[in-house]
């Protein structure tokens, strides 16, 4: 009883309130930057995958800016891994500005060692 009546204090906004992914793509020569905002999950990661697929043939560098990404599941990690694999022999991939929840997931899965994180 007491527990359920407790006022929340350090509970911040929950990730489910932002059940979306916004992707802003910019291009500088053969460098493509994807600014991601919201959630990269089972339902939203196909959208990112198709945006990456559109440019991957032309790209020499892919940058993922995760400053506003507050949630990533294995579905999102698979898109990042697939992108890194696609760039492996033809250029580079960089992940930039990761937030704490995303950093925790990278640490947990070894992706922190796998990617070039700026």
């Amino acid at each position: 009883m007491g527990l359920f009546g407790k006022k929340k204090n350090n509970t911040a906004s929950n990730s489910v309130n932002n059940a979306f992914l916004k992707i802003k793509t910019s291009k500088d020569g053969a460098e493509y930057t994807f600014m991601l905002e919201g959630r990269l999950d089972t339902n939203t990661s196909p959208e990112l995958k198709s945006k990456v697929d559109e440019v991957v043939d032309d790209a020499k560098k892919l940058v993922f800016d995760l400053e506003k990404l507050d949630y990533i599941s294995s579905a999102g990690l698979r898109v990042l891994l697939g992108s890194a694999q696609a760039m492996e022999d033809k250029g580079e991939m960089v992940v930039r500005n990761i937030t704490q929840p995303v950093r925790d997931i990278f640490d947990l899965t070894g992706f922190n060692l796998l990617f070039n994180i700026e």
Binding site: L3, F4, K6, K7, K8, N9, N10, T11, A12, S13, N14, S15, V16, A19, D41, T42, N43, D70, Y71, I72, S73, S74, A75, L77, R78, L81, G82, A84, Q85, E88, Q100, P101, D104, I105, L108, T109, G110, L113, L114, F115
Partner: protein
Amino acid sequence: MKELVIEAERKNLIQVQAFIDEQLEAVGCPMLTQTAIDIAVEELFVNIASYAYGPEIGIAVVQVSVYEEPLSVEITFIDNGKQYDPLAKPDPDTTLSVKERKKGGLGIFMVKKSMDNVNYEYKDGKNILTIKKNLS
């Protein structure tokens, strides 16, 4: 114990997570822990949605219990689809290079690593998967 009975479809993921979050927020779960639990819930629910019932749509039951001392949460996923123990899958090798890394097995590995306890049993024709996480 709170329970949600829902069709095991990917599009219902947000509803399942909202149900879990509601219970977690009621006990002041720290945000990073909540995110870890949300991710585990996604991996397990999407597993059921993707594999348990083949092309058919079946039901998933999600139960949440909160315990005191230590403050912890237990979440159970039940389906009556085909028998499948996701914990039996070998863990991915996290030391491999980009080229060698495989995409499979990542989700359940994340669940195993981030939760304090993960248990699977098959009983009375049901897959029962339980995760536990300390909140304090």
